[in-house]
């Protein structure tokens, strides 16, 4: 006989603790516990059996791993929080007694906790950190735009704005931006940093107010962590790009609302030779960059260039400026050809290939922002893709050129077109030379990876729909997919409509039609019947073309009606041999499939209806 096992001494009862137990163990307040959990990234767990984890009670509680809590118990931040509690008491006492000087000295020695070690613990490698900065960036950008009040201090807002500007500077400098999406919630950006897709959302430039049902303390705790995280990440990113961190801020420009332009990126010359370069080769690329590599990359670049140009049939990118920029990468005839080097283009080099092309999308162009467009947004986007951009003084200072500049090729304008009679010759001339496009053109071009035709986006035009560059889940409804197929369907529907018209017109045709239809319906099944039907149709005097059309139509119909219940009846019967678990899973999957299918068909049908309505309108005109 084995040892007797006591209840609650092993297993789930030991592995999990409830929140109240955890608080008791840590001897801190709930608020402190919450703060610790946020900072350390500890979250509740779902035990497999709640009853077993909670001493036989199945009351709704949140459980934590006992080990997580034990790990929290050694946390230096917890110690600091306790110290802070004592400090708060002391300060309150000093203030109550009116001992101002001691209160001041207490205030000076206020315990402050650092989160460096937590950053290192939560993100042991730099890649881990970069992978997880999405939420941090969203929060930083949100708080950068918040008005400061009693809960959100101005210094916090300022720091967030600084971090946001630093991130944008880095993305612009490294040309890391990949995708932009204008949504109803804000603007989604996606950048590729260290081969990680970083997506962040910036709200449109309106004053946001913190609603009352939001707990600001929680947000501020997260923000505390995010500020530290981003500080370290940016430090690493900047130093890897051999830039000085933090970038020096020009306060005069800042005051004149220069935005990102108030910061100046400085090359870090002093250390470039030693530590930084070593790091960059090891950690950034994950391999040593050799001369051979470089040459190979160049070769593949040149090989790819003509292809891409061919692909860009609409707007070939002017290559001359590109060449100027990348002078060090001018292909030179290599002295020795390496036959063994052909498989060398690594995944990395290949993946970077189209990006480098796309990230110089706007290099040949100079943009001018109309005053109703958002400057920070377009300044960031255009500069991240190598373009030059200027703006009127009403959007802030620091525009590199003014409106009269001859180099301006595009004007981003978001106003309806107004014909002005009193326009001067110069203005008219300018209008002729420049392209006046709506903001969506910029974003759509970026997402398409090439310069789109300006025509559908010119000022005052109804814009084509703006689609998400992130796509939808697999198998979802694709608004673009219909383009080819649609034509056929449309044609078919048109025909049917036409037929209807015919029917209305020629009554004598009717009998023939009926016969035809019956025949076709019968014919769709097997070839023998088809043949018989064909003969019949011929006898009725229907020409072969219409007959064939009819047949294909009925076949399509038959397919459609069959499709939903195409499940083999045998399989249907075999379902009863499934175990309960499998059956439930099967039913769940089937349910979700059906639901998705329904959604897709709904969208498709709606599109069809819309197109039909449009066509009718056009006809009516």
């Amino acid at each position: 006989m084995g040892r007797l096992r006591q209840k609650g001494k092993a297993g789930a009862a030991k592995a999990y603790v409830t929140r109240s137990m955890a608080i008791k163990k840590l001897q801190c307040s709930l608020a402190d516990f919450r703060r610790l959990c946020i900072l350390k990234g500890i979250f509740p767990r779902e035990p497999r059996s709640k009853k077993r984890a909670n001493k036989g009670s199945s009351a709704p509680t949140s459980f934590y791993y006992t080990k997580d809590i034990a790990y929290l118990a050694h946390e230096p931040v917890l110690k600091k929080l306790r110290e802070h509690k004592a400090f708060a008491k002391r300060l309150a006492r000093a203030l109550g007694r009116g001992e101002w000087s001691s209160a001041k000295s207490l205030e000076d020695s206020k315990p402050v906790y650092r989160l460096d070690h937590i950053i290192k613990e939560r993100y042991p490698t730099f890649i881990d950190a970069v992978r997880d900065i999405d939420d941090a960036l969203c929060m930083i950008f949100l708080f950068a735009s918040l008005p400061s009040n009693s809960r959100v201090s101005p210094s916090l807002t300022e720091n967030c704005a600084r971090l946001a500007a630093e991130w944008q500077l880095y993305v612009m400098h490294t040309r890391a931006l990949r995708k932009v999406f204008l949504s109803i919630k804000g603007v989604y950006y996606q950048a590729e940093v260290m081969d990680q897709q970083v997506t962040w959302l910036i709200p449109y430039q309106f004053t946001q107010n913190i609603p009352s049902d939001v707990d600001v303390r929680v947000m501020l705790t997260f923000l505390e962590l995010y500020q530290t995280l981003l500080g370290f990440v940016f430090f690493k990113l900047y130093t890897d790009a051999s830039l000085v961190y933090p970038p020096p801020l020009d306060t005069k420009k800042e005051e004149a609302a220069a935005g990102v332009g108030a910061f100046s990126l400085q090359e870090n010359n002093r250390k470039a030779g030693t530590a930084v370069s070593k790091k960059s080769t090891v950690e950034v690329d994950g391999k040593k960059v050799t001369g051979k590599d470089v040459r190979q990359t160049i070769k593949s670049l040149t090989a790819a260039a003509p292809q891409s140009e061919n692909a860009d049939d609409e707007m070939p990118v002017d290559d001359s400026t590109e060449q100027d920029v990348e002078e060090e990468f001018v292909p030179q005839p290599s002295t020795a050809s390496h036959p063994d080097a052909t498989p060398l283009p690594t995944l990395h080099s290949l993946s970077t290939l189209p990006q480098s092309q796309a990230s110089k999308l706007f290099t040949p162009y100079t943009f001018w922002l109309s005053r109703e467009t958002s400057r920070p947004m377009f300044e960031f986007i255009v500069r991240a893709f190598g373009g030059r951009i200027g703006w009127p003084a009403s959007s802030g200072s620091g525009s590199p050129f003014d409106e009269d500049d001859d180099s301006i090729t595009h004007v981003i304008i978001d106003r309806p077109l107004v014909e002005r009679a009193n326009a001067s010759d110069e203005e008219r001339e300018r209008r002729r030379r420049r392209k006046y496009i709506q903001p969506q053109w910029v974003v759509d071009s970026i997402n398409a990876g090439r310069i789109l035709l300006e025509e559908p986006y010119t000022q005052g035009k109804t814009l084509p729909p703006h689609l998400s560059p992130f796509g939808d889940r697999q198998g979802a409804y694709d608004p673009l997919a219909g383009a080819g197929e649609e034509g056929a369907v449309e044609a078919a529907s048109d025909e049917s409509e036409a037929e209807e018209d015919e029917e209305v017109l020629g009554e004598e045709n009717e009998t023939e039609q009926v016969a035809l239809k019956v025949a076709a319906a019968a014919a769709s099944e097997d070839p023998a019947a088809l043949r018989a039907a064909e003969l019949e149709a011929e006898a009725a005097g229907v020409d072969y073309g219409t007959f064939e059309k009819e047949v294909t139509k009925s076949q399509q119909k038959a397919k459609k009606t069959k499709a939903p219940d195409a499940i083999n009846p045998e399989e249907d019967m075999n379902k009863m041999m499934m175990s309960n678990k499998q059956r439930k899973l099967y039913e769940k999957m089937k349910y979700s499939q059906r639901k998705r299918g329904e959604e897709t068909t709904k969208l498709e049908e709606r599109k069809k209806a819309l197109q039909k309505a449009k066509k009718r309108q056009e006809k009516a005109r």
């Binding site: 939420d135 997506t199 947000m219």
Partner: protein, 770 residues
Amino acid sequence: MARGTGEKKRKQPVVEDSDHSDVEALPEGGMDMPSEEEGEDGVPGSDDDDDEVDEFPEIDARSDSDDVDTDEEEVEEDEDEDEDEDGSEEDDAESGTEDEEHHIFPQAKTVISKITGQPKKVYPEIEPDYDSDSSTEDAPNRVGNVPMHWYDDLPHVGYSIDGKKVLKPARGDELDKFLQTVDDPSAWTSAFDKNTQMDKPLTAEELDIIRRLQAHENPDASYDPYEPTIEWFTGKGKEEVMPLSAAPEPKRRWVPSKWEKQKVMKIVRAIRQGRILPAKPKTASSQQRFYAIWNEEPSSHAPPLPAPKPRLPTHNESYNPPEEYLPTEEERKEWEATDKEDRERDYLPQKYPSLRLVPAYDQFIQERFSRQLDLYLAPRIQRAKLNIDPNSLIPKLPSPSSLRPYPNYRSLNFRHTKGRVRCLSISPDGGWVVSADEEGIVSLWEVMVGREVKRWNMKEKVGGVEWCPRTDVSFFVVGTDEKLHFLVPPNLPSMVLAATQLLLAPPTLPPAPATPSPVKWSNPPSATTSDNKPILAIDLPQSSGIPKHITWHRKGDYFATVCEFHLTDSIPVSASGEGQGGVWIHQLSRRHSQAPFRKVKGSVQLVLFHPTKPQFFVATQRYVRVYNLAEQKLLKTLIPGIRWISSMDVHPSGDHLIVGGYDRKLCWFDLELSEKPYKIMRYYHSRAIRSLHFHPTYPLFASSSDDGSIQVFHARIYNDLMTDPLIVPLKILRGHEVKEGLGVLQVKWVPKQPWLVSAGADSSVAVWCN
């Protein structure tokens, strides 16, 4: 001193009673005036004032009780008015003397005589008018400083200097007192004097004392709290020149402290060694410093799992989505009507003609916040995403076409006139079917062609029909209410008929058993000649109900019946056979019936004989019990997990059992394996399962249900113990109608053929052929 006792306003009317006293009282205030004048005169530190402070009239605590006393006195006073008047006069005189006691005769001024040059005392002149001097008047009451309550019960308050009684002054009633307070403006500054038993107005000094006490000041008006200090030893010319002691001055007065130095040095050393940090500049510490935190090697700890990223936006979130994404009016309303938590999407797709018109998203902060709540409050579970085709979950079974033969169409339909066909049985040779309906019609017909050969009318509901499995004899048993009838089919070969008759109606009856059974076996006298009448009948005990289930042992000597109870009967339990579960085992050869169980737990639904072993299956409502008949003990209890067992059948091999229930479940038991089912098939019938039957030779079994369908399964059992039985659903046979919620009530296989015969509630019996 005596004047001090008194009460304020309340006793005022006492004075008012007589005109005299009123008149007399007024000058008294005037008499006090001189003392104030003296103060004004500037006589410093008059001791008299001090005296007066001491004499402040104490307010009698017993004033309330005095009230009653005074009222009594009033009555007395009214009786002798004369005396009262006298008393009042004397009172006046007394008050004069009293004043004299306290206000000493106007003090003399010390003046330097112009003549002699010596100081001399000059007294103020006395004007001899009416109220100039009180010294001439005596206080009438000479009682002295005694407690005045001694006189409470007496008409007088003391004695005058002449030894005459000083009578208490007359006192008015409450109304008088009140009027007095209204009339007399000084009423509120007067107090009751016990000595004279009347109200006396307070003097100005006394009022001043009251004011001072109320203001928390020193009651002594002459006390000056801000007296100038008088320098005695300090100041110019008053320094002490001579030392007070001759002790030499100690060293510590001029040598710096050693201990102080040590303490300071301790701090200095701590600062030098860096143990104490002097206050740093604040800006340096508050600013977060960033450094290359990822430069050193990462720890070997696996990084915590990153939080899942939020879903990327899809087309419908665009500010300018394709038009088909825009919600219709109904969708919009539905979205607005649903709760925030129940919404599939937290936004409605919207279309704006240009970017400039896109407003702020009002839920932005809420969404960020809810994301953060998710990050730190939501339990995270790692789930492997199943990216499989759901159809792959359906088990791959051999195709039914490869498992032929099995019945797949209805070959013929035999109709009863009316009434549900409850039961049917097929002869062991497989040629004949006997079916019985609820009207009591028992029909015998051929399987192949459906021709009815004979019909019996039992005139009451038939619960069960079963052929004897023996081939040398041919008969079947029909169970009606409390009776079992043995019927012999017509047109039997003579040999079989003779054997049957010999078996059922033997010329010599076997000896009766030792214990008499309540079940009676009887042969109707004419039975031997007629086919229409049962050849043998068994009378079950009174009110035992219809034998709803009859089952034969494979050898055909024994058969068992299960009776349905009439629960409404008031017959005692023992008589109805409820205790033994209504189960009877009948033995043909001995013409004897016995109840195998004395008492059964639960209501017995079905019983079955094991095909090879001496075992007996008893299905109660929830469990199936297996008994060994030879040893007469319980072997095992099977737990199918069915709420109410409706049907059961044992595989011809005897190792497997299927149990069906009214809750649409079918359980397959491997009897050698476990008490739990090997396989449970749920809900493949949409209604209750009614009947189950294994084919005696083919690997087939069928189940019928109230949904009007019959499900045919292939059930192959392998001799190899390691291989699980193979169960393949083959065919769903539909064709019976559902009537009043009842579908197919019984199915039976035709022996030696893969054919199925089913009896339905629509009063038809169908034969299904392959």
